[in-house]
Amino acid sequence: MAAPNAPARTIAVNVTFFADLRRHLPRGADGPQRYELREDATITDLLAAIGIPADTDLTAALDGELAKRESPLHDGAEVMLLSPMEGGA
C-alpha cells in the first residue's frame, strides 16, 4: 500500500490530433503532443486535460485500435484523436 501522503503516480501519453481536432493543438505546434496524467487515467480524463468538451463527436484510437472513452491509458500510450466526418469534395 502506498504511504498516505505519497504523490500520485503519473503516466505520459502521446497524442496526435487529426482533422479539425487539430484546433486543440497549441498554436504553432504539430506532431504528437505529450500529456502527463494520473496513472489510472482514461481517455475521458485525457480529453478533459486537453480541454476537449466531453460531448465532442470524435473517434479515439489507443495504440492503433479503436478505443472507448473509458479505456484506461498506460505510460507510453499512443493516442490518436480523429474526427471521421468531413464535408463533400
Binding site: 482533422a19 479539425d20 484546433r23 471521421p84 466526418m85 468531413e86 464535408g87 463533400g88 469534395a89
Partner: protein, 605 residues
C-alpha cells in the same frame, strides 16, 4: 428599384439559331428560387420535354450561381450546373467552386441557360453584357490546360474565367465534368457530356462590376470572423483540404475499400491528405473571396533533380515537390491535387497505396474532364466483375482489371476518356455497363438511380443514408435530411464554411437586403427539393428507385448492412417531412400550394 446581390437578368443562349435573349424574371422569382437547384429545376421543367434524350437537342444546360455568389465573403464563390442527366436520366446537378460563378455575376448575369445544339464546336465569350459565339473547332480534342491558355490568348484578357469540357465531355463520357480554373469542377451527374452533346467547348466570362451589397459593413464583419477564428473553425480544411480524416474512417470501419466490400485499409496513412502534404503538396489555393484556402496543389517530377529545381525556382523552397520513386509520372500543379473523394475513389477503393499514381489519375481526370467519383466507382465495379470472372480478358480486349494495380488505373483513365477498348463500356457508367453485360454483374453495383455513390459508407454514417436514398441526383452525399445543404446550394454558400444558421441568415440579409426569416430559408430549400422531385417523377422515377444497391445490405466487419425495412423507414420519414405522400413520394397539392410552385408543378405531368 434597388437590387442587391443579383441583377434580375438571365441569359438565354440558343446554339442552334446562334441567338441570345435576356429574361428578366422579376424579384419574386429570384427570392423564391434563390439560385442553384431552384433555378435549375424551374428551367428543366419549363424547357425539357418529358422523355427527352439528355444528349439530344432538347436538353438545356443551366449555369446557376446563387444570390450570394460574387459577394466579398468567404464561401461565396459557388455555382451549380444542371440539366437532365445522361447518367441517371433524371435531375442532374453539380456544384462547383472557383471563380467562374463570381465572374458571371460581375458580368451582370444571374444565370445562363443554354438551349439547342451547335452544328460546329463553339465557345461563348460573355464579356460583361456582350455575348459572342466563337469557333472552337481548333480547340476540340485538346485538354483543358491547352484550351484555357488558347482562349485567354485569343481574347487578349488574362483575367477572363473559363468553364470548359475536356475530351471526355466531347466523347460523351456519361460522367464527364465541367471544369473552371482547371481544378474546380462541376463533377457529378455528367454535365460535361451534356455540354459536349451541344458542341459547346467552353464559356469564357469577364465581369468588372462588383455585386451590389445591401450592407457591406455587415458582410465585412463576417469575413473578418472567418479569418480571425481560422484555428477554431476551419483549421483542418485550411491545413489539409479534405482527406485528413481517412485514418479515422478506416479505424471506425467505414472507409470504402475494394468496391465497398471492406471498411478498413491497412495503407490508408500512405494515401491521405497528410501524406499528400508531406510528400508532394506545394501550396494551397482558394476560391473567390475565401480565406480558408482549402484546395490542394500537388507537383510531382519523375526525377529528383527536376523536383529540386522546381522547388527552388517555382516555390522558393517553400513547397514539397514530390518525386516518383519509379520515375513514371510527372504531375502538373496546374491541375490542383486530389481531395478526399479522389483519394478514396481513385485510391483506397481500388486497393491502391501508390499516392503518386493516385495524384496522376486525379490530374488526368482534371485535364480530360471526368468525375473521379463515378470513374473510380465504375472501375471498382469492373474490377470486382473481373475478379469474379463476370468480365474476362475477352471482354476487356486483353486488359486485366485488377485491384491494387496503380499503373493499370492510370491507363484506364485515358482509355475511358477516349472510349478506347473496354473504356467505351466503362464510359457509360457502371449501371449501364452492368445492364449491357448482364451475367449477374449488377450485384456489384454501388449506384443509386444510376449514379455511383460517393465515398462515405451509409452503413457507417447514418447521416448519409437519407442523402443517398433520396437525393434527386442519385448517389449524392450532399443532400442530407436537414435543409441546411439545400439552402446553401440554392443561395450558393460553400458547405465548408462553419457558419451557423443565424450567420447564414445574416449573410443573406447583408447581401440582398431581404427581410428574410429562418422559415423562409427552409421554404426555399424545400421548394428546390420538391421541384427536383417533380422532375424525376415526371421522368418515370418511383419509390422503387429510392433504395440502395444490394452491396449495402451486406455487413461490413464493424457495421451491419442496411435492411430493406430500415431503408423504407428512412424513405417514408423523408417523404412525410417534405410534404409528399408517404407511399409514393408524390408532392401533395397542399405542399405545392404552400411552396407556391403551382405553375412549375403543372409542367411536371
Amino acid at each position: 428599384m434597388d437590387r442587391f446581390g443579383y441583377w434580375n437578368k438571365i441569359l438565354h443562349v440558343n446554339l442552334t439559331a446562334r441567338t441570345t435573349w435576356i429574361e428578366e424574371p422579376g424579384d419574386p422569382f429570384v427570392r423564391r428560387y434563390g439560385g442553384g437547384r431552384g433555378f435549375i429545376a424551374h428551367y428543366l421543367l419549363k424547357y425539357v420535354p418529358k422523355g427527352a434524350d439528355p444528349l439530344g437537342p432538347d436538353n438545356v444546360l443551366v449555369f446557376a450561381p446563387g444570390v450570394l455568389t460574387g459577394a466579398p465573403v468567404p464561401g461565396a464563390g459557388r455555382h451549380s450546373v444542371g440539366a437532365k442527366s445522361p447518367l441517371t436520366g433524371g435531375f442532374g446537378e453539380s456544384e462547383s467552386g472557383g471563380f467562374w460563378g463570381a465572374e458571371l455575376k460581375r458580368a451582370g448575369w444571374d444565370a445562363v441557360v443554354v438551349h439547342g445544339v451547335s452544328t460546329i464546336p463553339v465557345y461563348l465569350w460573355i464579356n460583361e453584357g456582350a455575348v459572342q459565339f466563337r469557333d472552337a473547332s481548333h480547340l476540340w480534342g485538346k485538354i483543358t490546360g491547352e484550351v484555357q491558355d488558347a482562349i485567354l490568348a485569343e481574347l487578349g484578357d488574362p483575367r477572363a474565367r473559363v468553364a470548359q469540357i475536356g475530351p471526355a465531355g466531347e466523347n460523351l463520357v456519361r460522367f464527364a465534368v465541367i471544369a473552371n480554373e482547371l481544378n474546380e469542377v462541376a463533377g457529378r451527374t455528367g454535365m460535361g457530356a451534356v455540354m459536349g452533346s451541344k458542341r459547346l467547348k467552353a464559356i469564357a466570362v469577364r465581369g468588372k462590376t462588383p455585386v451590389r451589397l445591401a450592407d457591406a459593413k455587415g458582410l465585412n464583419a463576417v469575413a473578418k470572423w472567418v479569418s480571425s477564428t481560422m484555428d477554431q473553425n476551419h483549421r483542418a480544411f485550411h491545413e489539409f483540404g479534405t482527406g485528413a480524416a481517412m485514418q479515422g474512417k478506416s479505424l471506425e470501419g467505414g472507409m470504402p475499400t475494394l468496391n465497398y466490400r471492406l471498411g478498413a485499409f491497412e495503407h490508408v496513412a500512405k494515401v491521405d491528405a497528410i501524406a499528400v502534404r508531406d510528400q508532394m503538396r506545394v501550396k494551397m489555393e482558394a476560391c473567390y473571396a475565401c480565406s480558408v484556402r482549402c484546395k490542394k496543389v500537388v507537383h510531382i517530377e519523375e526525377k529528383e533533380d527536376a523536383a529540386r529545381r522546381a522547388s527552388e525556382t517555382l516555390y522558393q523552397g517553400k513547397g514539397t515537390v514530390g518525386v516518383d520513386p519509379l520515375g513514371r509520372y510527372r504531375v502538373d500543379p496546374r491541375y490542383g491535387g486530389p481531395e478526399y473523394e479522389s483519394l478514396a475513389a481513385m485510391g483506397v477503393n481500388l486497393g491502391l497505396d501508390d499516392l503518386v499514381a493516385i495524384c496522376k489519375s486525379n490530374e488526368m481526370c482534371n485535364y480530360l474532364g471526368m468525375d473521379t467519383v463515378s470513374l473510380g466507382a465504375t472501375l471498382a465495379w469492373a474490377m470486382e466483375c473481373f475478379e469474379q470472372g463476370v468480365l474476362t480478358l475477352d471482354d476487356t480486349g486483353g486488359v486485366p482489371l485488377r485491384f491494387r494495380d496503380p499503373d493499370a488505373v492510370v491507363k484506364l483513365v485515358e482509355m475511358v476518356a477516349h472510349r478506347q477498348g473496354i473504356g467505351d463500356l466503362l464510359a457509360e457508367g457502371s449501371q449501364r455497363a452492368a445492364r449491357r453485360i448482364g451475367r449477374g454483374s449488377e450485384a456489384y453495383l454501388t449506384t443509386v438511380k444510376g449514379m455511383e455513390m460517393a465515398m462515405h459508407d451509409p452503413r457507417h454514417m447514418p447521416v448519409m443514408r437519407a442523402s443517398y436514398l433520396l437525393a434527386p441526383t442519385g448517389g449524392d452525399h450532399m443532400r442530407q435530411m436537414d435543409y441546411r445543404n439545400g439552402l446553401r446550394n440554392q443561395v450558393a454558400l460553400c458547405h465548408f464554411l462553419a457558419y451557423d444558421d443565424a450567420q447564414s441568415l445574416d449573410i443573406i440579409k447583408a447581401v440582398t437586403g431581404w427581410d428574410i426569416t429562418p422559415e423562409e430559408m427552409t421554404t426555399t430549400a424545400r421548394r428546390g427539393l420538391t421541384l427536383a422531385r417533380l422532375f424525376n417523377l415526371r421522368e418515370g422515377f418511383t419509390r422503387a428507385d429510392d433504395r440502395l444497391p444490394p452491396r449495402f445490405s451486406e455487413d461490413l466487419p464493424k457495421h451491419k448492412g442496411l435492411t430493406a425495412e430500415q431503408q423504407s423507414a428512412i424513405v417514408t420519414e423523408y417523404y412525410v417531412k417534405q410534404g409528399w405522400d408517404s407511399e409514393r413520394g408524390v408532392p401533395t397539392a397542399e405542399t405545392i400550394r404552400a411552396l407556391e410552385i403551382e405553375a412549375d408543378a403543372a409542367l411536371a405531368v
